[in-house]
C-alpha cells in the first residue's frame, strides 16, 4: 500500500533512536531495532531484560499469569497472595467480559481477593494467613476452583503456595485448589507469567473431565481473552457455521469447559505469544494439533474460517463457511467502501502486546493504511521472525528460570486427530499447523521493527514519521495524544470493541475513521497562536487603527 508521504530512511531513524543513550545501552537497544525485509527476515533481539531506568511499556510475570491468562475465567476464585496492590491493580482493569448462563451461575470476575500481607507475614511467613484466606473463600463462596498467585515477596520469604494449595484441596475434597509461582521478578516481562499460567492450567485443570464433548467439529479457542466482547463475536460466527467451541482459553470461559478441553479435535491459536505452550502440550499429551488463526480483520476472519473447514475436511462445513462469509461480507464491504476514501494512504504505528501488533495490521490493511513501524512489548523472536527460528533462540538465565514441563503422550487419552501425512498435506495447503510465520513476513520492506520500545524512542518515532495513528496502551495514550496524534489502545480498545470477526472489523473501521478524521486535532492551536502573535496584540492593534 502506497503511503501518502515519504517514508524516512529507516537506517537513519535507527541511528537517531539510539544516539542519546549511554554507549552500553545504545549497543543493546540497537539489536532490538531492525529494518524489515520480508524476504530475508533479519534477527530481532527480543525477550531480553529491559535496561533499568528505561521507561518501558512492560509489566511483570504476575500480570501475565493472573491478569492475562487466568483472569478471564469467571468461576475461579483467584486469590492473590501478597501485599494489597497487586490484586487491586489487576481488578477488572483488563475488560474481560463474561456472560454467565444464568443469574445463579458463578462469576467472581467483579471481585478482588487478596491476603493483604502485612509486615508480620513477611517476617514470620504468610502461609498460615494464606490457608486461612483459602478457607474463608471456600466457606463464603464454595467455588469449584481456587487459584493462588504469588507476588514478589512470597517467593523471597519462601512461602510454599503449592503445598498450601494441596493441603486445602485435600481438606475440601470438592474444590480444586492450585497455585502459581508467578512472582513479578520472574522472567523479563509478562511473557514469563503466560508460560507459568499455561503450565499451571495444563497441570491442574485440563483433562480433569473426560466426558466426551458433543458436536461434529469441535475445537478450542486459545489465546482469546474476550476483551471488549471479542470472544462473543467469534462465538457468534462459530455457532453460525456449526463449529462447536469446547473451551476458550480463556475469554468468557468456565472451569468446567477448560477441564473438558482435551476432548476437542483442534486447537486454534489467536495470541501465539501467551498460549502457544498450551497448544504444544495438548498436542503431545492428547494428540490435538494446533493451528494459528487470526480473527482480527474481516478478510483474516474469512481466511481463518476456511482454514478450519479445510482442517476438518468436511464439504458440508466448507459450504457452510462460504455461505456465512457470503452473508457477512456485504455489511462489511458497505462500511469499508464508505470509509476507505478517508483512511486510504494514511500511516499507522503499532507497539503493543505479543500478538496484537501483528494482528491489527490486517485491519489497517483493510483500511488502506500502511504500518510504517511496529513492535511487541513482550514477544519472543518467533513472534517476529516465525517459529522456524525456535531452535536458534538462545536460552538465557531469565528464560531458564521458567519451568518447561516434560510432557509425554497420555497412555489412555492420546489420540492423534490426524496422521503425520494428513498434517503435512494440510500444511502444504497453507494451514499454519503447529506453526506461526510471525509478524515480519507480512510487513513491508524497510518498515521499522522495534522490540520493547522505550518512551524516548516512541517520542522520536512520532517526531520523525508523524503517523496518522499510534497504537499502544494506556501508559502511552495521553503522551501521544498530547503530541496531537490519536492513540488507539489495543489492550483495552479505549473501552470499545469488539474488534474480532465481521462485526468487530466494522467497529474498528468506524473507530479509526472517527479518530484520524476527528476535527479536534485541528483545533489544538488557538487562533492567536496560529496567527503567530502569541499576546493577541495584533488583534487589538487592528481595532485601534480602524
Amino acid at each position: 500500500m502506497e503511503a501518502n508521504r515519504i517514508i524516512p530512511d529507516p537506517s537513519q531513524v535507527r541511528e537517531e533512536l539510539i544516539q542519546k543513550y549511554p554507549a552500553k545501552v545504545a549497543k543493546k537497544r540497537a539489536k532490538s531495532i531492525v529494518i524489515n525485509d520480508p524476504e530475508i527476515i533479519p534477527e530481532v533481539q527480543a525477550n531480553v531484560r529491559t535496561v533499568p531506568g528505561i521507561i518501558t511499556q512492560r509489566g511483570c510475570s504476575y500480570a501475565g499469569c493472573k491478569g492475562v491468562v487466568l483472569g478471564p475465567t469467571r468461576d475461579i476464585v483467584n486469590i492473590v497472595h501478597g501485599p494489597i496492590g497487586c490484586s487491586f491493580y489487576a481488578w477488572l482493569t483488563r475488560r474481560n467480559q463474561t456472560k454467565p448462563e444464568t443469574l445463579m451461575d458463578a462469576n467472581y470476575i467483579p471481585y478482588c481477593f487478596s491476603t493483604d500481607m502485612q509486615e508480620e507475614n513477611i517476617v514470620f511467613g504468610g502461609e498460615k494467613k494464606l490457608k486461612i484466606a483459602i478457607q474463608e473463600a471456600y466457606d463464603l463462596f464454595h467455588p469449584k476452583s481456587i487459584a493462588i498467585f504469588s507476588t514478589c515477596p512470597v517467593g523471597l520469604i519462601g512461602d510454599d503456595v503449592h503445598a498450601a494449595s494441596r493441603e486445602m484441596k485435600e481438606k475440601f475434597g470438592d474444590c480444586n485448589v492450585f497455585g502459581f509461582s508467578c512472582e513479578g521478578y520472574r522472567g523479563v516481562s509478562q511473557s514469563a507469567g503466560h508460560h507459568i499460567a499455561n503450565n499451571g492450567v495444563f497441570k491442574h485443570m485440563v483433562g480433569r473431565d473426560n466426558t466426551p464433548s458433543e458436536g461434529k467439529f469441535k475445537l478450542n479457542l486459545l489465546g482469546e481473552y474476550n476483551i471488549g466482547g471479542d470472544a462473543f463475536e467469534i462465538e457468534r460466527i462459530f455457532e453460525k457455521v456449526g463449529i462447536t467451541l469446547v473451551a476458550s482459553f480463556s475469554g468468557n470461559s468456565t472451569v468446567g469447559a477448560i477441564e473438558n478441553s482435551h476432548t476437542a479435535d483442534l486447537n486454534v491459536i489467536l495470541c501465539h505469544r501467551s498460549i502457544n505452550y498450551m497448544g504444544d502440550m495438548m498436542e503431545t499429551k492428547y494428540g490435538i494439533p494446533w493451528m494459528k488463526v487470526n480473527f482480527v480483520g474481516a478478510e483474516s476472519t474469512a481466511k481463518s474460517l476456511r482454514k478450519i473447514a479445510e482442517y476438518f475436511g468436511d464439504e458440508e462445513l466448507k459450504a457452510r463457511v462460504e455461505a456465512v462469509i457470503a452473508e457477512e461480507t456485504p455489511k462489511v464491504k458497505a462500511v469499508i467502501e464508505e470509509i476507505l476514501p478517508r483512511t486510504k494512504g494514511k500511516t499507522a504505528m503499532l507497539f503493543v502486546g505479543g500478538s496484537r501488533a501483528h494482528h491489527y495490521q490486517d485491519l489497517f490493511n483493510e483500511l488502506g493504511m500502511t504500518t510504517v513501524a511496529a513492535g511487541y512489548e513482550f514477544a519472543h523472536r518467533d513472534d517476529y521472525e516465525g517459529r522456524e527460528v525456535l531452535p536458534k533462540i538462545k536460552v538465557d538465565a531469565d528464560s531458564k528460570n521458567i519451568e518447561e514441563l516434560k510432557i509425554v503422550a497420555d497412555p489412555e487419552l492420546y489420540n492423534p486427530r490426524k496422521t503425520d501425512a494428513e498434517l503435512e498435506a494440510l500444511k502444504e495447503k497453507g494451514l499454519e499447523i503447529n506453526g506461526y510465520e510471525g509478524m515480519m513476513k507480512q510487513m513491508t520492506k524497510k518498515s521499522l521493527v522495534v522490540d520493547d520500545l522505550s518512551h524516548y524512542e516512541s517520542e522520536k518515532l512520532i517526531e520523525i514519521y508523524k503517523p496518522d495513528i499510534f497504537c499502544a496502551g494506556i501508559k502511552e495514550k495521553y503522551v501521544v495524544q498530547k503530541m496531537g496524534i490519536p492513540l488507539k489502545q489495543l489492550h483495552s480498545y479505549d473501552y470499545g470493541g469488539p474488534y474480532t470477526g465481521f462485526e468487530g472489523a466494522v467497529n474498528f473501521y468506524k473507530d479509526i475513521d472517527r479518530m484520524v478524521n476527528n476535527p479536534v486535532w485541528k483545533l489544538i492551536k488557538a487562533p492567536w497562536e496560529k496567527a503567530g502573535n502569541g499576546n493577541g496584540a495584533g488583534l487589538a492593534a487592528s481595532y485601534v487603527t480602524q
Binding site: S87, N107, L130, I132, E136, Y185, M483, K525
Partner: protein
C-alpha cells in the same frame, strides 16, 4: 447482579480481603513525587509495580504519567537491587534528564533489604548525580500502610531532603497538601492569594496532571513545587499540614529538621473544615479574612439553607481515604445527612480515633471500620442489612451502586470512569459547593426518576 456472591450475613474474616478499600504504598509515593517540578518518580522493584501505578494514575487523570523502574529480575532479587538502581540513575540522567529522581521502594526491594539511603549515597559518591541534580528517596514497602501512607512517606522524604534553614525566617508559611487532586491544590493556592498570604505548597500536582493540550508533550510540565521553594520551606514561619495521615508526617519532619512549628488541619472539604482552614491562615498570617472569602462561604451556606429539605436524613454509605472521608463525614453531618456505613482500608489508630470521636459526638450509631478487612465487601454486606440512599466512593463503588440501585457519587481515588476531579475542586467553599451540587443532583435525579407521574414536580 454483578456482585452476586455477596451475602447479607457478615462473618469475621482474618485472612481474606475482598474488594479492598485501599491500595499499596508505592503508588502514593509516585503521585506525591509528580508534584515536584522536574521530578521523575522511580520505582525500585520489578517492572509490574511501575506499570500498574502508571496505568492507574493515567486512568485516573487521563494525562501522561512518567516514571521509571529498576526492572528487577530474579538475579537482582537474589543479589540485591543496588546494581539496578545505579544503572537506572545513569540511564535516567542521560536519557530523560530530570532535575530530581524520587526513588521509592516496593515490597520486593524492602523484603530483600535494599537500603535506599545507602544506595543513593553511593550514587552520589560515585559521581553519578550531575551537578545541581538530586536523587531523593522514600521507603514505601507495600506490606505496610496503604497508598495514603506511601504518599505521606514521600512527602516527608521531600521535606527532609530539601528543606534548609538559613537562620533567617521568611515571611511565608508552608501548606503541606494531604492527598488531594490537582484541582484542590490549585484552589488552595487561589484561597491563599485571596487571603493575601505567601505560601509554599507542596507537593503541587496542578499544572502537572491537568496539563493543557498544546500539540506538544512536555515531559516535565510547568507545575510542581520547585527546588528553590522546597529549600525555602525550612525558613517558613509555620507549616499547616492538611491531613493527619497524609500530610502531618512531613510537617513533623520539617519541625525536626528546621524547627518549623506546625499545625495539623483537616483537608478543607465541607463547611466546617474550610472554616478551620481559613481561621488557621488568618491566625498564622495575622490577616483578616477578606470579604471575597466570606461571600464564598455565604454562597455555600445559602444553598445549604435553601435545599435542606432534600438532604436531611438521607442515609449515606462511604468508603475512601482517611484524610478525605473524615471531613466529608463532617460535611454530611453539617448537611443534616446521615452517614450510616463508613470503611477505609488504610490502617492506623490516629484516624480510627478521630473518626470515632466525630461519630460519637454526632452519629454514634454509624457502622465504621478501618484497617485490615475494612473492605468494600464488608461495606456492601452492611448496605444489604441497612440500606442507604446514597453511596460515596471511588469508581469501584459503581458495582455496588448498580446492584443495590442507589445513586452514587464518585469521590476519592481512583476515579477511572469519569473526568472532572482534576479540574473542579472539592476543597474550600466553592469546592464544597460543587460537592453539594453533586449530592443534590444525585438525590433529586433519583426523586425525579422514581416519582409517580401524578407526583412529578416541575419546581423543586
Amino acid at each position: 447482579m454483578l456482585l452476586r456472591h455477596t451475602s447479607k450475613e457478615v462473618k469475621e474474616r482474618e485472612g481474606l480481603t475482598i474488594n479492598p478499600a485501599k491500595t499499596c504504598q508505592p503508588i502514593g509515593a509516585m503521585y506525591a513525587a509528580l508534584g515536584i517540578h522536574g521530578c521523575l518518580p522511580h520505582s525500585h522493584g520489578s517492572q509490574g509495580c511501575c506499570s500498574y501505578h502508571r496505568s492507574t494514575l493515567t486512568r485516573h487523570y487521563k494525562e501522561p504519567v512518567m516514571a521509571a523502574t529498576s526492572s528487577f529480575t530474579e538475579g537482582a532479587s537474589v543479589f540485591g537491587g543496588q546494581a539496578n538502581l545505579l544503572a537506572a540513575i545513569d540511564t535516567i540522567f542521560a536519557v530523560y534528564d530530570p532535575d530530581i529522581i524520587a526513588v521509592h521502594s516496593t515490597c520486593l526491594s524492602e523484603t530483600i533489604g535494599d537500603d535506599l539511603q545507602q544506595i543513593t549515597k553511593k550514587a552520589s559518591d560515585d559521581g553519578k548525580i550531575p551537578e545541581g541534580k538530586y536523587v531523593i528517596f522514600a521507603s514505601t514497602p507495600s506490606f505496610v500502610g496503604s497508598h495514603v501512607t506511601g504518599y505521606a512517606n514521600m512527602v516527608a522524604g521531600i521535606a527532609t531532603q530539601f528543606a534548609e534553614s538559613t537562620g533567617v525566617k521568611k515571611n511565608q508559611f508552608n501548606i503541606i497538601a494531604g492527598w488531594m487532586e490537582p484541582s484542590d491544590m490549585r484552589e488552595i493556592k487561589r484561597m491563599a492569594t485571596v487571603m493575601g498570604v505567601n505560601i509554599v505548597l507542596f507537593p503541587d500536582t496542578s499544572d502537572v496532571l491537568d496539563a493543557p493540550q498544546t500539540g506538544k508533550h512536555v515531559f516535565y510540565p510547568k507545575g510542581g513545587t520547585t527546588v528553590t521553594e522546597l529549600k525555602s520551606s525550612g525558613d517558613s514561619l509555620v507549616s499547616l499540614a492538611l491531613g493527619s495521615i497524609s500530610a502531618e508526617p512531613a510537617a513533623i519532619a520539617l519541625e525536626k529538621k528546621c524547627k518549623v512549628p506546625f499545625e495539623t488541619l483537616d483537608i478543607p472539604i465541607g463547611l466546617s473544615a474550610t472554616d478551620r482552614f481559613i481561621m488557621a491562615i488568618s491566625k498564622v498570617a495575622g490577616v483578616t479574612v477578606p470579604d471575597e472569602i466570606t461571600a464564598d462561604r455565604g454562597r455555600l451556606v445559602d444553598v445549604m439553607c435553601d435545599m435542606e429539605q432534600y438532604l436531611h436524613g438521607k442515609r449515606v454509605a462511604l468508603f475512601g481515604d482517611p484524610d478525605q472521608i473524615l471531613p466529608l463525614t463532617e460535611f454530611l453531618l453539617d448537611l443534616n445527612m446521615k452517614p450510616v456505613h463508613i470503611v477505609s482500608g488504610t490502617p492506623g489508630q490516629r484516624f480510627e480515633k478521630q473518626m470515632r470521636q466525630l461519630l460519637d459526638e454526632r452519629s454514634p450509631e454509624t457502622n465504621f471500620k478501618s484497617g485490615l478487612q475494612a473492605d468494600m465487601f464488608l461495606l456492601h454486606q452492611w448496605m444489604k442489612n441497612e440500606p442507604v440512599d446514597l453511596l460515596f466512593g471511588n469508581t469501584y463503588g459503581k458495582y455496588m451502586a448498580r446492584d443495590e440501585d442507589i445513586p452514587f457519587i464518585r469521590f476519592g481515588f481512583p476515579i477511572l470512569d469519569r473526568i472532572g476531579h482534576s479540574y473542579f475542586p472539592n476543597v474550600g467553599y466553592s469546592g464544597s459547593l460543587r460537592l453539594l451540587e453533586k449530592i443534590l443532583n444525585a438525590v433529586m435525579d433519583r426523586q425525579d426518576r422514581d416519582a409517580l407521574e401524578e407526583k412529578f414536580e416541575l419546581v423543586m
